[in-house]
Symmetry: C2
């Protein structure tokens, strides 16, 4: 199965990387850009055919490694 995972900062958590990109965009003349938030996007293969098992595995991977659940939230799609 193919998994697509999005890891983003929780609302209210300061995003210095997003702020830096926002300022860079504006200095390049893109004044209309604002509220830039940056996260991680991962794709991976799961050698699992049972959907429920794959979802459980993916959730554990996110909780244990892919996301820092103190400041980040995650969502995933399986196909």
């Amino acid at each position: 199965m193919k998994a697509k995972v999005h890891v983003t900062l929780k609302q209210g958590i300061l995003d210095p990387q997003g702020k830096a990109i926002e300022h860079a965009l504006q200095s390049l003349g893109f004044q209309s850009a604002s509220n830039v938030r940056v996260g991680k996007y991962m794709e991976l293969d799961l050698n699992e055919t049972d959907r429920a098992k794959a979802e459980a595995l993916l959730k554990q991977m996110c909780e244990k490694l892919l996301a820092n659940t103190v400041i980040e939230e995650y969502r995933y799609e399986l196909s």
Copy 2:
């Protein structure tokens, strides 16, 4: 308008970060995980109501700053 941008490495480009995550997952016991590829996911607001203009702006932002088009490709959604 709200823009969602995915920036990922082009096919064939080595992904050391993905490899590192893959090995970490496997050392945590997730043997079924493979081919991990890591990219950037960005959300931003565009102060533009005309869709065509917003798309043109977003494409320029990607080409100039958000993606290194030598090794990365990008895709975006506007809503």
